[in-house]
Amino acid sequence: MKLNKAANELLNRYLLGVKRELGGREREDIAAEIESYIYDLLAERHPKAEEITVSDLTAVLKEMGAPRKVAAQYSPQRYLIGPRLFPVYWLVVRIIAAVVAGALTLSLTISSAIPPPAQLWPTLLEYLGSIWSGVLSAAAAVTLVFAIIERASEGKCMEDMKGFEELKELDEFKLDELPDLPENESAFSLVGTSIECVLGVLGLAFFTYIRGTGGYIPIHLNPDAPTQMARIFTDSYMLFVPVILGLTGLEVARSITLLAQARHSSLTNWWEIVLKGADLVLAGFLLTAMPIVTLDFFTKITGSADALRFDPTVNTALTVIIALSMLGSLIEIIKKSVREVRSPAY
């Protein structure tokens, strides 16, 4: 007995849904066991069938219920907001976030229409800051309320939860709501993440040192001569070093979280998206702060000041590279956000 192509894809999507709901290192093992059970059930129901179709499999999956329900049996105590309430919670968070963002946008529109005209960048930054804090506060409040409801309703069965009709989706789920099989979903790589983590720590050490020297690095060409300090970063770049340190620290923390959970989760995916967004903003500010590097380093090595003539060229090249990387980052942020919204990892 084997599954036809469409049924096999459906089964893989279902199992992916279950895995995304499960935490910990046992998720693959649990999913494999569920798969084994489904095969046994299909073999019993269709003993003579050479090929299992989507409709055969659908009947079994419908009986088992939504992936969230299946996964919940394995880890009932894991959630702050449990699987029974999560669909409603997520809906409310999205509505509240949209309302808060809409209200703040309206407020910005009205205030910018009233004279005197506000400055563009400070107003925009203030707006982004208020959106961030407003949405975060609203989401925190909603989370708190749902966490209280979750605790208050612990131990009650599904039928006791009147007023939450959406909870029935745990039993009656739609197959088209199962996650798509990602063709190139980034699999967790222990080696890759470890390297990222080590590079992050090295970056932290480097920028901490650079911050202490004011943008200079030591050069020790002649063993008999004293160590010289050569400048590589300009003062305008040094203004951003604390921000770079903060972002690098957050990147290291993300790598450590990835190593701890040994998989990409919704948390680490959104964490990456937010960090990429922050990097994008930083890159934008760096473009306005050009020149950010100097070839003073080479003048010390070669002993000739000629290298300084190439400062504008190097900074122009950097401007182009940063601008191109911003474009790439923007596309990546959009792609990752869309994927995470459409098919979130848990």
Binding site: I30, E33, S36, Y37, G65, K69, Q73, Y74, C157
Partner: protein, 131 residues
């Protein structure tokens, strides 16, 4: 006319009341039955794991003997019992898919003996109480 209407309404209300009460009673019964079964599930599952079984065969074995259980209850239970050191399990490829086989280990067999004795003792007490 009004008497007939009154009679019909009274009849309707009475039927609705009995249907409602019946549904409530059924729902309460189901809840209490679940509570009653909860403790017995571990013993029932362990009793069948003296011999090696995979999940689906264990479900069938229990169901055929009149103890209804679903995969959503059994698999997490097996995982919990294994975590408690009472079961051993291993993946094996047989017929032609991989299956996970479970069996009680020494600690599990000891625990099963203790639980069986406790169950029999409680059974005697309950029988006496119900007489």
């Amino acid at each position: 006319m009004s008497f007939n209407l009154y009679l019909s309404l009274t009849l309707l209300c009475t039927i609705q009341y009995y249907i409602g009460m019946n549904a409530l009673q059924n729902s309460e019964f189901e809840k209490l039955k679940l509570e009653l079964r909860r403790g017995a599930i571990v013993l029932a599952a362990m009793s069948q794991l003296r011999e090696e079984q995979y999940g689906y065969s264990l479900i069938n074995s229990l169901n055929e003997q009149g103890f209804e259980i679903g995969q959503d209850t059994l698999y997490p239970l097996l995982r919990r019992l294994e975590g408690q050191g009472l079961l051993d399990s291993q993946w094996r490829v047989e017929d032609p898919r991989p299956r996970r086989y479970y069996q009680l280990n020494d600690a599990g067999r000891e625990m099963l003996a203790l639980l069986t004795a406790e169950w029999q003792q409680q059974d005697k007490v309950i029988r006496r109480l119900l007489e």
